[in-house]
Amino acid sequence: MNRVRNHVLISIDAGTIMAGARAVEKALTEEIVRQGLSDEITVLETGSIGATGQGVIIVVYPEGVYYGNVTVQDIPQLVEEHLLKGRLVKRLLLSELPKQHVVTKEKTGLLKEQPRIVLRNSGIIDPENIDEYIAREGYEAIGKAFSLKPEGVIEEIKKSGLIGRGGAGFPTAMKWGFAHNAPGDQKYIICNADEGEPGTFKDRLILEGDPHKLIEGMIIAGYAIGATKGFIYIRGEYSLSIERLEKAIAQARQYELLGDNILESGFSFDLSVMKGAGAYVCGEETALIESLEGKRGHPRLKPPFPAIAGLWHKPTVVNNVETLANIPEIIWRGATWYRGYGTEKCPGTKVYTIIGNVATPGIIEAEMGTTLRDIIYEYAGGIKEGKKFKCALVGGAAGAFLGPDMLDVQMDFANLKEYAAVLGSGAILVMDEDADIVDMLQSVLHFFKHESCGHCVPCRLGTAQLVKVIDRIAASKGIKEDIEKLSNISDVMRDTSFCPLGQSLCLPISSALKYFHDEVYARIPL
């Protein structure tokens, strides 16, 4: 085997592909051959490194140098200067190197470290090569899980205190326990990869960057609850994720990590990828199950809960991608290690999607309990152009607007609840002083009207009325009572809607009015 001098990682994800990553990759490979460096330098594809809006990103190891906005024209210079002569191409360096780009636990320069548990391999390994995952201790946790017995696995997860990362904040071990104890000859594990929360794409990073981690998590989950079949219900638009997942599943089957009698354990398990058809409500687990069964994506009546009667009325666990990606690390390194991160009530890390008016938007993984201030100012480089922070919509479209007074609140599932806010999907949309709260609210309400499934009266017609009111206000044609109407309708929806979609709309409305009542009021003509 050749000893390779440099590894050049090119980040291939939905964003970089659009920026021309495939062409750059081709040019890079050709240039390296042309310069006769192919024995010394390997070009590897990897998933997203978490930065957005930086064009095509290339990372050169072992130096750990990041280049952004790389074009085909830059390649000859890059290869000649850096790879041949060992000189940095300063022009292409990500000068304000976003802090989330540090992928190890070691501090590098001034950058704030990220404890990467879920994203440990993302942006480092080739997601299309199972060997690279295995080389990073991948699939070790399966063996350990098999030695623990299903009850032992659930016990370990319980000790770790893992809470589901889908948004509802339900303890994972409890869900597994219900399904494990539920009678049934057939059980299922479903991964909810229908990432539909506006402004959230953290699951995509895992799916594109480290699909085997999810597969390993699902095998362990299946083993724990007694499911022999798993489904990954994935957002239909995530074509690269689907491609990589399917490739990963095929590789895992080839390595007999999926299929009959995995590692001679007597446990058999297989996975299928199912594409969603673009409905926000299918992120709700029972609507997801209906959709998976080929039906219209309406939420189901509860009880019975999926853990008792889910997919085809068999005991079923639905877990989010991020939740499942935590599993192999917890099993392999142990619950005690895991509890070393995060807070007492919510151990571990959280993957955030930071978008909006910040200097470096993207994906970061931070410990539970990290404050909003740290996330914005330490990880995301602060507000763009040095402007003032106005507020952040935290938790997705159905999250709460958090004002400056909330900047220093420790963010985890339990603590935010105290402040009538949610962690939700971990989306953080940051707004600077110039942002318009009415426009923002209008966009949120239009989204909900569009995504209401139509099952129950309050959500179907409440969202429609809310849109009418906010449109009126936005057009400066509202009346004083309209502001009250916004909170009244959303309160009725909270109390009477069928599923969380309609119930949660009161959060953005009440929090927006809490901080910015005057600003909304100013839009009402006198």
Binding site: R296, L301, G454, V457, I489, V492
Partner: protein
């Protein structure tokens, strides 16, 4: 059976004992505690869409819906707090933001209700009457109960065109509140799946997939969706503007031998609509298109005969009943029995048939009581009767492990049987369908055979060959195998060979048989002995093992080619191969177009206008109840026959009431005295007569090549009920 332990719960400070495994709403209703709800309807599964039935439960977060929350021991429920009342009003306001509400909120609301109970023309001008459901509307009731007198949202009219292209019912989705009852009844109760939700969110509406018509989407036109609709969105074409019915009569459908219960809706002495009875033990409310939609138009047909008529050289003239009876009696008295042919419809009541049989045998002295099934079944009449009289009750399907359907389709008839089969198939029972054309059960069957009838006997042989215990002398273990035979085989000219195989399946291999034939009161006809060679009561089993009657081939015994002096049609129309005759008496409800014009016309009343009983295919004695007065001067068939008898021989056959006939029937047919008991029948076998065939052989009637069509008392439903024409055309295309 051990008694279920009751749970104790508290609703609105009232301690009540309730069954386990029910919802709070069900518990409240059992104890007459009102909770408003629009989407819930027994026996549909809970849905939780309208959100009006919210309650407060100690220990449960927020406001759970009572229609979806199961009761639990010790539960404390409040159904009517101030907060709940406000929330209900707000939800209802939202609901009404898309439902035309002029009938709900109007300054003249109360006056309107008190003084103008029916639909009025003025509404067309004032614009408040575009809904046919006024005073029947559940939304009106609930708005009143919830105490909403005004709304804060402007009403948005969705502007859908009213869908009128399908037969029987109209759809105005501007009035739809998306409670989903129709979708659930279509999918979960009828197992049909024509209706579903379309679009999403505010755009949600209901209809058939891909915007097809209901006819194209496989709708059975059972009308279940119309019955469950709480608003005026779905309405029956013929009855939609009648307003609220003033009465309801429970009776039995006479269009086929299933014997479904009907709830006739009566207004102003007219049958305007028919509803199913979901509590029925016979049909579970699973009416077919005929029972649901084909009755009002039939009984109110413009072809109804109102007075007796006599043919004159100048055409028909109306005559009095006295004259008509005189004329009939004159033609029939003292006549040689050989010269009379009496034809009865198998769709008459037991009472009619009993009187007709006595009239034929006792007064006229003839055994030749003809019925149309003899010319339909021809040489196979006896084997057909053998199968029909051995028919099993329909619930054998519920416990079957193997079901075979032969030439059976339940789209437009026998729906209670069809739905039972669909349920069984869905539960994993092995279903095989065999037919010439596509059957509606093919979609749920494990194996589907579509082939010519001539190939069926061989296929049935192979099915029988698979059976265990095929060897001679081996004891057969009890089997739960059911074969259902339908119109495609019954009316096939090649039915003989298939019947033989089915008899073999039944007698040798223990298959249970269900015969889906159209002769409503066939069992009553046989029990009353209104059939050549079968005595009154002879075929009704009294529990002993005595064998049933052996009958001669009725078609040759009847010798239809021979000229008669008088033919007396009772509830039947002139048929092909009707013997030539000097005088034709036509006693029926509707006028008939036929080449042989009747000489005397006697108007009969229809089943909605009289009382009586029939015997269903399952052997149940079912009541026909009078709902309206007889049409015009029409009379029940038994009464006309009795009057003619009186003229011929006073006192011989005098009946003045239905109860007198029923008393006689009970006296003479012992096994019919217990109305509750399901009747069993003796086996009818063929008498091998030494005489051989008598009379001329009949020519093959053209009708045997014509496709079979739905008839009542000889008149095709498609000729009387407009929607049935569309259905018949559809059936023929398939």
């Amino acid at each position: 059976m051990t008694k279920e332990k009751k749970l104790s719960i508290t609703i609105d400070n009232r301690k009540v004992a309730v069954k386990p495994n029910i919802t709070i709403l069900q518990a409240a209703r059992e104890h007459n505690i009102y909770i408003p709800s629009l989407c819930t309807l027994e026996p549909l599964p809970s849905y939780g869409a309208c959100r009006l039935c919210i309650v407060e439960v100690d220990g449960l977060r927020g406001f759970p819906t009572s229609c979806t929350t199961p009761v639990d021991d010790g539960m404390v429920v409040r159904t009517d707090t101030a907060e709940i009342r406000t929330l209900r009003q707000e939800v209802l306001k939202l609901l009404l933001s898309e439902h035309p509400a002029s009938c709900l909120f109007c300054t003249e609301h109360d006056e309107c209700k008190d003084y103008q109970g029916t639909i009025r023309k003025v509404g067309v001008t004032t614009g408040c009457r575009y809904c046919p459901n006024d005073s029947l509307c559940e939304l009106q009731t609930i708005t009143e109960k919830i105490g909403l007198t005004e709304t804060s949202y402007p009403v948005y009219y969705r502007g859908f065109p009213v869908e009128k292209s399908d037969p029987f019912y109209d759809r105005d989705y501007n009035l739809c509140i998306l409670c989903g009852r129709c979708v659930r009844v279509c999918n979960d109760i009828r197992m049909n799946g024509t209706l579903s939700f379309k679009e999403r969110g505010k755009q949600t509406t209901i209809g058939a997939a891909l915007d097809r018509t209901h006819l194209d989407a496989g709708c059975e036109f059972c009308g279940a969706c119309v019955s469950v609709c709480p608003t005026g969105a779905l309405s029956t074409k013929v009855s939609k503007w009648y307003g609220k019915p003033d009465g309801e009569t429970k009776t039995t459908c006479v269009y086929c031998p299933v014997g479904c219960e009907l709830l006739l809706q009566i207004k102003n002495n007219e049958t305007i609509d028919v509803f199913p009875n979901y509590d029925s033990t016979i049909d579970q409310g699973l009416l077919c298109v005929k029972g649901r939609f084909a009755i009002p138009e039939y009984v109110a047909s413009p072809e109804r005969l109102a007075t007796p008529q006599r043919m004159t050289p100048l055409g028909y003239e109306d005559i009095s009943w006295d004259d008509a009876i005189d004329e009939a009696a004159e033609k029939l008295s003292g006549i040689n029995p050989e010269d009379v042919l009496i034809v009865v419809s198998p769709q008459l009541t037991n009472e009619d048939l009993f009187v007709a049989e006595r009239f034929a045998r006792e007064l006229i002295g003839t055994d030749q009581i003809m019925s149309v099934l003899i010319t339909d079944m021809r040489e196979e009449t006896v084997s057909f009767l053998n199968l029909a009289s051995a028919s099993s009750p329909f619930n054998v399907i519920d416990t079957a492990d193997t079901i075979l359907t032969i030439g059976f389709d339940s789209t437009y008839g026998f729906t209670p049987i069809g739905i039972k089969i669909k349920k069984a198939a869905k539960a994993g029972v092995n279903l095989t369908t065999l037919s010439v054309h596509e059957s509606n059960l093919d979609i749920v069957s494990g194996e589907t055979f579509q082939m010519n009838v001539t190939k069926w006997p061989a296929l049935l042989d192979s099915i029988m060959g698979k059976m265990p215990g095929n060897g001679k002398g081996t004891k057969l273990k009890p089997l739960n195998k059911v074969v259902v035979i339908g119109a495609e085989v019954i009316f096939s000219p090649k039915r003989g060979a298939v019947f033989e195989k089915i008899v073999e399946m039944k007698d040798r291999f223990g298959w249970k048989v269900i015969v889906a034939h159209p002769y409503t009161n066939l069992m009553g006809l046989l029990a009353m002995g209104a059939f050549p060679g079968i005595k009154r009561g002879e075929i009704v089993s009294d529990g002993t093992k005595s064998t049933g009657p052996a009958v001669e081939d009725p078609l040759s015994a009847m010798d239809l080619a021979r000229h008669r002096k008088v033919v007396y049609l009772i509830g039947e129309v002139p048929f092909e191969n009707l013997p030539e005759c000097d005088f034709l008496i036509y006693q029926n409800a509707l006028s008939v177009k036929s080449t042989r014009k009747p000489d005397l016309v006697l108007p009969s009343s229809l089943f909605t206008e009289l009382s009586g009983t029939i015997i269903s295919a399952e052997g149940r004695i079912l009541p026909i109840r009078k709902a309206t007065d007889p049409y015009g001067k029409s009379m029940p068939d038994w009464q006309i026959i009795s009057k003619i008898s009186e003229k011929i021989k006073s006192g011989a056959l005098k009946y003045s009431s239905i109860s007198a006939i029923q008393t006689d029937i009970k006296k003479q047919v012992k096994s019919l005295s217990d109305v509750k008991k399901r009747l069993e029948f003796r086996k009818i076998s063929a008498k091998t007569s030494g005489k051989g065939r008598t009379g001329k052989r009949l020519s093959d009637p053209k009708s045997s090549r014509k496709p079979w069509e739905e008839k009542y008392r000889g008149i095709a439903l498609k000729d009387v009920v407009s929607g049935m024409l569309v259905i018949e055309e559809r059936r023929r295309h398939e």
